[in-house]
Amino acid sequence: MSNDFAQFQDAFFDEAVEHLAVVEDGLLELEQHPEDRDLLNKIFRSAHSIKGGSGMFGFNAVAQFTHKMETLLDLLRNGQKAVSPAIADLLLKSTDCLKTLLEAAKTGASVDDATVQRLTDELASASASGPQQPKANANEATSNQTQERQGDQTYVITWTPPDWLFQRGLDPLQVLRELRSLGKLTEVGIDMSRLPNLAEVDPEKCYLSWHMRLATEKDRNVIEAVFEFVREDSQLTIENATVPGSECQVSSTGSQPETRNLQPETDDGSSKPLGEILVESGVVSRETLDHALAQQKRVGQILVEQHAASPQQVEQALQKQRQQESAAQSKKTDTASIRVDTDKIDKLINLVGELVITQSMLSDLGARFEMSHMPVLLERMAQLERNTREIQERVMGIRMLPIGTAFSRFPRLVRDLSAKAGKKIQLVLSGEETELDKTVIESISDPLTHLVRNSADHGLEPPEERLDNNKQEIGTIRLNAFHEGGNICITVEDDGRGLNRDKILAKAVKQGLIGENEKLSDEQIWLLIFKPGFSTAEKVTDVSGRGVGMDVVKRNIEGLGGTVSIKTKPGHGTIFILKLPLTLAIIEGMTVRVGKETYIVPLLSILESIQPKPGGVKTVVGKGELIDVRGTYLPVVRMYEIFASQPEITDPTKAILLILETEGERVAVMVDEILGQQQVVIKSMEQNFRKVEGIAGATILGDGTVGFILDVRGLLEIARQGEPVAA
């Protein structure tokens, strides 16, 4: 069957995700306010919408599962059942399951049927005392199948509609029309016997009855269907009055038509499963079949029973399968759409309009330009600049989303973590409305999740320990987001035990990350926890402690052009501070000159710029040039050496040294001159040319020439190796 609705599938999945979020948030809130009827209604409605929609697209697994959830939710909202922690938990688990079912419907991935079945059963038993679902639908559907009949039958139909027919917007004429469309309406008579005296007539009531003769080849059911909306409230008789000569048919039509068991075949001609055929041909009953199907085992189970594989091996393989599936899914979600407020677009269109006006004013001025027009020209130019800047801001704004979308998953996560770790944790969110680039939001979710997990597992102490230390039993994790200059800061804060300096040091030495006698500042010690393979957790828990993750966090954040820093106070807690650029496409940069080339240094990484005194730069064997900045020796990188360009100045005391910092390490970069500060649009080097060490990208400068954006991280690497790159 062709389905015109198929084009709405994507819209449905988008909406389903929103509904799922409503359900999940609602369920979490419900734990605090189990009596909140409005909340229950809201959850119910969202589940209902998912059910309705999935049914429309033929996602029957989703529809059936949601139906089970809905049944339970209905009992809860009607007050027939009370919300218990067990029920809330079951519903949350079901929401997760629904999520995977929807994902499966979208991507065609397979689902863990056992889990679905188990949850379906649990949902059913949780709603067990509720009203039984009418199971009649299936039968109804089969008996409605029209039967092929030869030739026309004549039916005598008498119909007395209820007198309130009109008040429900029903028109008897419509019924007659529809009947006529079925065949030949040979006779239509009106019975006006119920019509009262004119004075007593209520014009909004129907007093009439009809009797009709209809010759049609259609089945009796089809005729009845015409009266679908009024049948239960009308007196309706449909009798077969077929002309003599086919007596056997006369007698058979008096009773309900039987559905004959035809050769099993489906609408689209494809063959049915064996079980279905057996049921249809009456060999086995539906119950027997269901029972037999329930005994069917999955490959994993069979292998385990045959001792061909251990349960652990099967579990591992299953896990691998799931990972592959989720990897496939995440790839697909990369090309997502974005929903933009029409308001934002309207404003943008407005601005473009203004830009066009400014442009036409300028070309008008250009056509008859005299020197005396100079002030007007300058004014118009200023206007053009204003327009351009505003349009740029607005266009960037389209990609901006509130970070709340990334935060929304955490209440659930923290709830689950606190249950698993046996700790009492409350989550405080703030700054959810802070806007940042969609891409950044998407990439930030995973690192944030990791930090929150880390705080819950390592940061916060168990309740007993907290009480012993005169702390509140309930630990707090605080997520905050705010703007700071051209950046956004996201902090993950816990009021737990704080980082343990000695423990981290000991571990780092043991793992050979640092030498035994190496002297490190606190800052540097904290950053050790971001090293690959580092974990101080004594036991590996389900949540964290495998030493995988914190390094990934750092790498992800830095991949976005951001930084991670840590503040901690023993016994009082830890704050992870993520600093991210608002967008990945534009950076605030300092333009510097080396010879004839212009480079852009990301402003974020510049600490200061100095002009060294004579003798300030020293050459150390094996370490290249170093400069003494207030007691700290930093490596010096001469830009012209690295990029093999012709400098104007080769004497450090006459040049400018920019002190750049990345990931807690510093480097002094020597340039001829600082030109100024400006926002630049990053163009990828890899896409347009090839990767060049020490260069993060390129941009087009005001005068049309190309400027290179420095990659501070790369410069540091070069400083360490002391080798120039071929330009």
């Binding site: 069957m1 389905n3 015109d4 609705f5 709405f8 819209a11 449905f12 909406e15 209604n41 809201k42 119910f44 409605r45 209902h48 919408s49 059910k51 309705g52 929609g53 049914g55 429309m56 697209f57 033929g58 529809a63 139906h67 809905e70 049944t71 679902q133 009418p134 639908n137 009109f166 008040q167 429900r168 917007g169 029903l170 028109d171 004429l173 419509q174 029309r177 529809e178 909004e204 015409v226 679908e228 909306f229 409230d233």
Partner: protein, 123 residues
């Protein structure tokens, strides 16, 4: 002559699907996202040839909407179809009592939708 239809559903996708089908069939469509929104949109005296409404909605649900519409002189005899799910048979009865003309059982396809509408739409 183009006919007008009022579509009331809190589910964006569902609303779009019904609107799409009816627009293609030559209707002029007014969409509302719940009962209250619908009442606001027609309380100015706008007449509609048909109303298609969901039942489960925030603010004002479908049953309340049907009752409300039947009170308005402009909607006293207008066909109103409700979108229900199979499991909500008792809702059908409730809807009928409120004044609904008929129902469309979800899931449905465009054909069924148009056929059911044709069934109740005055010529």
């Amino acid at each position: 002559m183009g006919k007008t239809a009022l579509i009331v559903d809190d589910s964006r996708t569902m609303r779009q699907m019904v609107a799409f089908t009816l627009t293609n069939a030559g209707f002029t469509v007014v969409e509302a996202e719940d009962g209250k929104d619908a009442v606001n949109k027609v309380s100015g005296g706008a007449k509609m040839d048909i109303v298609v409404t969901d039942l489960n909605m925030p603010e004002m649900d479908g049953i309340a909407l049907i009752k409300e519409l039947r009170k308005m002189s402009t909607f006293k005899f207008t066909p109103i179809l409700m979108l229900t799910t199979e499991s909500a048979m008792e809702k059908k009865k409730e809807g009928k009592e409120a004044g609904a003309t008929g129902w469309i059982v979800k899931p449905f396809n465009p054909e069924v939708l148009l056929k059911t509408i044709a069934k109740v739409l005055p010529a």
